[in-house]
């Protein structure tokens, strides 16, 4: 429910417009039948009903109708990509149930692109693909840091950079601080009134990674509490919804 509320605010267009048939069909869980690859016809007779307000009319029944304008951002240059975020969230659980390959072309270990378009995001093999799917699902709805970002319209590449993240990818502090920094500001915000040295952003452990506490795809935890059990600090992205 917690996620839903935010989704309604941030991604109302996506949630309602793209998924109307799904939502009415069964609590937003299932597509009747998967569309043929790259075709949207199975669910969307026409696009008029799912387009955001003010969107120019779209011709066609397939992916190309969208991607002719919304070209895949292979170079990860767009600072934000609401189109990509909305499209993904509308079509994967819990809202939709499409396989990646409904829209994406994938040759395991070789390439991963968009059906009908040139270019590749990376070379995920089967194992990597499983991981990506799992993490993508988390991003879409977990309540963890990843989904808080999804709700704000932020996709993988804005934290992970160009290309599909690989197995041991992490996000360096500089990446987080691009939007959330500088660190001194963060430290100011979290400085306790009474005990100024009990500041999670100015730890006695020195320069530590944001990810020590703020986990992307797992439950975030205040590391301080492992020793200082009495501190009673809270963190976003802590609980599963």
């Amino acid at each position: 429910m917690f996620v839903m509320k935010r989704v309604v605010v941030i991604a109302i267009a996506a949630a309602v417009l793209f998924c109307l048939p799904l939502l009415t069909a069964g609590g937003g869980t299932a597509l009747a039948a998967p569309s043929p690859k790259g075709s949207c016809k199975g669910c969307h007779a026409d696009f008029a009903s799912v387009l955001p307000k003010g969107h120019p009319a779209v011709k066609g029944t397939g992916l190309a109708a969208c991607s002719s304008c919304h070209a895949p951002d292979l170079a990860a240059k767009k600072p934000e990509n609401a189109y990509s975020v909305r499209m993904h969230r509308a079509h994967i659980p819990p809202k939709g149930k499409l396989e990646c390959t409904a829209c994406h072309s994938w040759v395991p270990g070789k390439s991963f692109g968009l059906i009908g378009r040139k270019g590749s995001f990376g070379k995920p093999d089967k194992e990597q693909m499983e991981l990506l799917k799992e993490i993508f699902a988390s991003w879409a709805s977990s309540g963890y840091t990843d989904s808080l970002h999804a709700e704000a319209g932020i996709a993988c590449s804005q934290c992970h950079g160009k290309g599909l993240p690989t197995f041991d990818d992490t996000v360096e502090n500089a990446g987080c601080l691009k939007c959330h920094g500088p660190m001194e500001e963060l430290a100011k915000k979290t400085e306790p009134k009474e005990f100024k040295d009990r500041n999670p952003h100015k730890s006695h452990l020195g320069d530590i990674a944001c990810t020590v506490c703020h986990k992307g795809h797992m439950e975030s935890k205040v590391y301080c509490l492992d020793c200082h059990k009495q501190f009673g600090m809270k963190i976003q992205g802590a609980a599963k919804k």
């Binding site: 197995f167 041991d168 006695h204 452990l205 990810t211 020590v212 200082h228 059990k229 009495q230």
Partner: protein, 522 residues
Amino acid sequence: MKGNDQDEVKAGNAGGNVGRRSFLKGALAVGAVATGGFALNMAVPGLAEAAKRPLPKKWDETIDVVVIGSGFAGWSAAAQAAIGGAKAVVIEKMPTYGGNSIINGGVYASYDDKFHYRQKMGLGDDSPELHMQDTLKGGDFFSIPALAKVLAEGATDGLNWMIDDGGAVIRPTVVRAGGHSAYRTHAAGIGKVYVDALKRIAEKNGAQIRLNTAVTWIWRADADPKSPVLGVEVKSGRKISNIKVGKGLILASGGFSRDVKMRGDHYPFLSGENWNCTNHPGATGEMIRFAQSVGADTLQMNYIQLYPYADPETGILDTPALIPFNGPGNGIVYVTKQGKRFISELARRDHVSFAQIGLGPQGKPTYTIFGDDMVEKMGFTKGEIEAGLKKGRLVVGNTIAEVAQKAGLPQDALVETIDKHNKYLAEGKDPEFNKPITKAMLPMTKGPFYAVAQWPAIHHTMGGLRINEHAQVIDIFGEVIPKLYAAGEVTGGVHGTNRLGSNAIPDCVVFGRVAGRNAAKG
């Protein structure tokens, strides 16, 4: 390489009866690594490791010197290995570096320092020989003298190295702490000062660190005395990989105070979860078990130290909890809830801890009383005292009676105790507890005075892997295990029954350097 079936080393029982013969009959072709064959393996039955494990077919990478652990010992070893020309990588399982070292109290025993503070403050004589003797005595002569000697003789050079090459800043004082017969304990406020100095030296010479990476196994083909350790298995996130060790594997993985099973197995009195503990959560004993599984010997695992002065509520060793340790040479006084002394303040940690435990649970907590004029001499700043007051860890009063009242102690009793102690200082004699009185001990005649509450918490594991003075790990038959080194709290035999306070940092730094130097030679 090929072992015939019969000769392969099988997973032994936990407490196993794997004899020397079955050990030595392990796969034979030493040196023909990573091309099949089974690994030496004595894991607990049922664990993944307990399966008859083939050695890795291929290594994911090769590193000259692999150092496990990023505390004093690990960084010292990595620095010295890098200086010796080796590629050195520190592997750390936690998401932050530093282990117990980075939360440590920063007190370092050394007979001298480049500023010669002891001499300049007129605090008497000292020598490495005396430091060694104190170390042996403080551990009831259970230490291996050759190891204690390495510590005492290398301590000063280690300290100056961190100051000169690493930029460590120490405070301008030297204190006399429990169990030491000289003013030789240097203060830096917090262990991070040294960790960062060592890290700087290591990184400046090319060493690297990998966080969030746990060692999950040590690879060795068999227990032949010529058979070296081959590498380690590591786990990072979900990824498991194998690192081949080029020149040496250095275990600097710290003590096991947080390993409830291991500490209870060796010292049943300390079993269970209910003890407070000063250590970081990663202070567990798996590296000791892995090393044992490839033949390493351990000693004195049952000697586990309680820190007598931890925060009674949390068990944390914060700055206020360091005052009772630093202060005896400056005249602080320990009292019970009844406001009475119960031991010589210069007593060893184990004696102070058990004197408190002897008071019974209703005796918790005891207190340290000290005066304002001692603060800087003990190695603290006024700011640290103020912070302690604000957090409620200290109470202050202009008179002893006021301190007593704020701490909830009987006023008359405390006033009488302090008066008596002042008299002992003036007379140079402590008829009650026989504390050796020195001139640096100040009487408490002029306020403000302070009190801090204290109680024992599990703190340090004196036992661990058996090493020689070259930091080489010794196997259960007394032979060196080629390419395997250990340094710091993971080792045993340096401190005997009881580690003297401020002896752990020099232990880690000195043996870390020895291990790093030797490993780099390959």
